[in-house]
Structure formats: structure tokens, C-alpha cells
């Protein structure tokens, strides 16, 4: 605590920024070396603590992420050396090989260590957290903990469960990864579409939890929204050619562009019809629209691209009544066809029906919008 107080605002700011931007990279790079999620997590946490002192004394390094990665990996190496015998008894994460990936360049006090040669393992980390052999709630919790770096307490708050409950959930999931030998790797091409869908679903769920949760701490919910947007951006950086990844990022941007107008001053939820469109975030809408256009090109679009396309139509409509309802309906039809995904089965027909009523309504003289 003393260290925290002594650290300058600048150092604390840099550390918070590094935590948000670099956590996944640092942890993913350390897991490969440690061969164990818990050991890796501990080493990364240690590295962040060490950064507080070191950065205060010696200044913030030019590349904070590289500094943290080098430090965390050095700690993992130390732990491996100390616990040679213990390690032999622990089952290693499949897909990691501490012996083979313990390069000598980490021997010295290498604050300037070059981590640019390290493979980016963030996708491995994400796919492992979102493995279908883990329960959906465990996938979500693990993603928040390991990929986004949230504490167990923060995750517990976000999902309105007690900290011990959430801790048990995370421990169980990690244990299953090790004992059932869920591999630490990006799935092969033939499994990728299904596995990626699980990752996108988790990311989307994080967003909707933060965006629509009726209860819970406002700050925690805003944090979930921000983290899911970060995650969607990270996925887009790592898999720029995938259309559903683009579709998801577009969907989140377009939905989030309306964030400021979703509630009245008294906290009441405002319907799309009641929202002040002049306050929508035009920059986010522009970026989202561009991504949607790219995601819809070539071949059959997936469910996230289609939902994003629907969101884009709403975002660009000058008013509720002037919305291009035939377009919305057509997109819902496509979405219905693409909705092999179980979660959508209940919702799509209903929303499509709403769009259908609007389309017919808008054509007739008695449509509410035309009165």
C-alpha cells in the first residue's frame, strides 16, 4: 500500500494503461513458459507490483509491455528452477513446453529485453478460456480474469455473485483445463468457425451484461462495456480477415454509439424511438458502418455481421419513422436463416415481427410515425 501511495500519478497512470492494454499479451507469453495458468498469473501479478517500485525509481520504460513481459517471464523461469521437483509432478498445460521455450535471453536484468521476437499468444489464451468443454459462465469468468485481467472480486460484482462463488468457479475451470488437457492453442482451420463463434459469443455476452444489466454497480457495468470493446478490438487486430470478427466489433461500436442516450435523467430506459439521435456518437457509427460493409462482402454473412447491419440501419436513420424498415426486415430474414445459434431462436422471430409490423404500418396512412 505504501508503494502505491509513493508512486507518482504518472507511474500509476502508466501502470493502469499497461494493465488494460498489455495484460493479455504479458500473461499469454508467460503461460507458454510457465506451463501452468496459476503460476503464470502469479508471475504477471508480481511483475506489475515490481513495476510500481522500479518505474518510480528508474522511470517508466519506453515499452511498458515489453518490460512487464520480460519481468514476468524471468519470474516464471525462477519459479521453474526453484521448483524442479514440484514441476515434474504437476501436469503441464498441453501445448506449452517450458523446457523448449525457456530462451537464455532472459538471464540478465533485461529491462530492455527485446520481446518483439516472442510469438503473440493472445489468441491461444482466448481460445483456451472459451473452450466449449467449459461451461458458458466459466468461459466468461476465465476470459475476464485471464484475458482482461479483472480481479475475482470485480468479476463477482459484475455477475452479482459472491466472491467465493466466483473464485470456486474460476478454480474449477482452471482445474478442468489442466486435468482434462484442454490444449493451449488456436484450433485448426476446420474447427475454427465453431470455436471462434464461442469466443465472439463470450465477448458479446460481456458487452450485453454491461450494457443491459438491470442491476449492479454502474461503474462495474461501464467497465464490462469497455473491456468487451477492448476485447473485440483485440480480436480484430489478431484476426483482421475474419468477417464475423469484423461484424462483432461493428455491432458493439454501433450499439455503443447510442450509449449516452439510452437512459433518461431519472434512470428510465429510453426506447430507440425516444432517443436523441443528435447525441449519438457519429465517429463510432462511421467506423462501425465501414466494418459492416466489409463484413457483408463476399459470401453469406454470419449472425454478428447481420446484427451489425441492422444496428447500422438504425444508427443512420434520420428518425424512427424514417427508418428503412424493409431493409431491417430483409436483414432479420437473413438473420433468421443464419440463426442456427440457440440463443437467438427465441428473439429473432419476435424482433423480425416488430420490423414487419412497422413496415406494413409505415405504408398505411395510420402508421404512428406518419401521423
Amino acid at each position: 500500500m505504501n508503494q502505491v501511495r509513493q508512486a507518482s500519478a504518472e507511474v500509476r497512470g502508466a501502470l493502469a494503461e499497461a494493465h488494460r492494454r498489455e495484460w493479455a499479451f504479458v500473461l499469454a507469453a508467460t503461460v507458454r513458459l510457465a506451463g501452468d495458468l496459476d503460476v503464470a498469473e502469479e508471475c504477471v501479478q508480481d511483475a506489475f507490483v515490481a513495476a510500481l517500485t522500479s518505474w518510480t525509481q528508474r522511470g517508466i520504460p519506453a515499452n511498458p509491455g515489453a518490460w512487464l513481459t520480460a519481468t514476468a517471464r524471468r519470474r516464471a523461469l525462477d519459479a521453474l528452477r526453484r521448483d524442479q521437483t514440484l514441476r515434474r509432478k504437476l501436469p503441464l498445460l498441453v501445448g506449452t513446453d517450458p523446457a523448449a521455450s525457456a530462451p537464455l535471453e532472459w538471464e540478465g536484468e533485461g529491462e530492455e529485453a527485446d520481446v518483439s521476437q516472442l510469438p503473440d499468444d493472445r489468441l491461444r489464451l482466448i481460445f483456451t478460456c472459451c473452450h466449449p468443454a467449459l461451461a458458458p459462465e466459466a468461459q466468461v469468468a476465465l476470459t475476464l480474469r485471464l484475458v482482461c485481467g479483472l480481479t475475482t472480486l470485480e468479476i463477482a460484482h459484475a455477475f452479482l455473485v459472491s466472491e467465493p462463488t466466483m473464485a470456486a468457479r474460476i478454480t474449477r475451470a482452471k482445474k478442468k483445463i489442466t486435468l482434462a488437457r484442454i490444449p493451449y492453442r488456436v484450433p485448426p482451420a476446420h474447427e475454427l468457425p465453431d470455436r471462434l463463434d464461442a469466443v465472439l459469443t463470450v465477448t458479446h455476452l460481456l458487452y450485453t451484461t454491461g450494457h443491459t444489466a438491470p442491476a449492479g454497480d454502474r461503474l462495474v457495468r461501464a467497465e464490462l462495456v469497455e473491456r468487451s470493446l477492448d476485447l473485440a478490438r483485440m480480436l480484430y487486430t489478431l484476426m483482421p480477415d475474419d468477417r464475423e470478427v469484423r461484424g462483432l466489433l461493428a455491432l458493439l461500436l454501433l450499439t455503443d454509439a447510442r450509449r449516452a442516450t439510452r437512459t433518461a435523467t431519472n434512470g428510465r430506459l429510453l426506447l430507440l424511438e425516444e432517443q436523441d439521435r443528435s447525441r449519438w456518437d457519429r465517429q463510432a457509427i462511421g467506423e462501425g458502418r465501414q466494418l459492416v460493409d466489409q463484413a457483408l462482402r463476399r459470401g453469406r454473412p454470419g449472425r454478428f455481421a447481420l446484427q451489425a447491419a441492422i444496428a447500422a440501419v438504425h444508427a443512420e436513420a434520420p428518425s424512427y419513422a424514417d427508418t428503412d424498415w424493409p431493409e431491417v426486415l430483409g436483414l432479420y430474414d437473413l438473420l433468421l436463416n443464419a440463426s442456427w445459434e440457440f440463443m437467438l431462436h427465441d428473439r429473432v422471430p419476435y424482433q423480425g415481427w416488430v420490423a414487419d409490423r412497422w413496415r406494413t404500418g409505415c405504408r398505411s396512412a395510420t402508421a404512428p410515425g406518419s401521423g
Binding site: V94, A133, A180, R181, I182
Partner: protein
């Protein structure tokens, strides 16, 4: 490589299988064994079980002997394979190939009992 047990569950029928059904089953399991072998796995063992009507359970408390399976389920355990696979993804791929008409399979990693006791 790690060991997994594939537990095969399905609906039990009172009538014995017809010769066609029997042939189909034998063939399906033969193909399964071949696929596992070709895809780098190994079948260490496996058996089909007689119907649960033939099961007898012995409960630890008081050694009570009762007719029937330990747990009564709609889909009954009908057979198993002990397989070897490099990781869960590969084991799942084998599990998906395992014939289990009208039911499904459960995949359980085998505990290594040769070393230290499992940690908390």
C-alpha cells in the same frame, strides 16, 4: 498422451436387436476403432454392457445389495471405451465418432494414481 474413458449412454429397449441392427452396430464400432487408430489415438479397451435390468448394486453403507443400476437414468450406460489421445480436442473428436445411437457419450479423463495425491 493421456487416457480418457468414453462412457456410452443410450435408450435401452426391451427387444433384442434385429440381425440388421446388430450388424450395423458391429460395423459402426469397427469403423470407430479404425478411425481412432488412423487419427493417432489408441483404444486400450472397451466393452458393451448387458442391459441395466441385469445390474446389481452394492451400497457401501451396510453392504445392501439391490437390484438395478447404481443410479437410475433415462439413458443408461451401455458400454465404454478406454482410449488414449494427446489432448481433449483429439479425445473429443474420437468421442464424436463413437457410435451412440439415440443417446450420447461422456468423456472422462483418467486420473494418474502413480504419483503424488491430487492437489486441491
Amino acid at each position: 498422451m493421456a487416457k480418457y474413458l468414453i462412457l456410452i449412454y443410450g435408450q435401452e429397449s426391451d427387444a433384442p436387436p434385429t440381425p440388421d441392427q446388430w450388424d450395423w452396430m458391429m460395423q459402426a464400432h469397427g469403423q470407430f476403432a479404425q478411425a481412432v487408430d488412423q487419427q493417432g489415438g489408441k483404444i486400450l479397451g472397451g466393452e458393451a454392457l448387458q442391459p441395466t435390468a441385469t445390474a446389481t448394486s452394492v451400497r457401501n453403507d451396510g453392504q445392501a445389495v439391490t437390484d438395478g443400476p447404481f443410479v437410475e437414468t433415462k439413458e443408461a450406460l451401455g458400454g465404454f471405451y478406454l482410449i488414449e489421445a494427446p489432448d481433449l480436442d483429439q479425445a473429443l473428436a474420437f468421442a464424436k465418432l463413437c457410435p451412440a445411437p439415440g443417446g450420447g457419450v461422456e468423456l472422462r479423463p483418467i486420473m494418474d494414481t502413480s504419483g503424488a495425491p491430487p492437489s486441491a
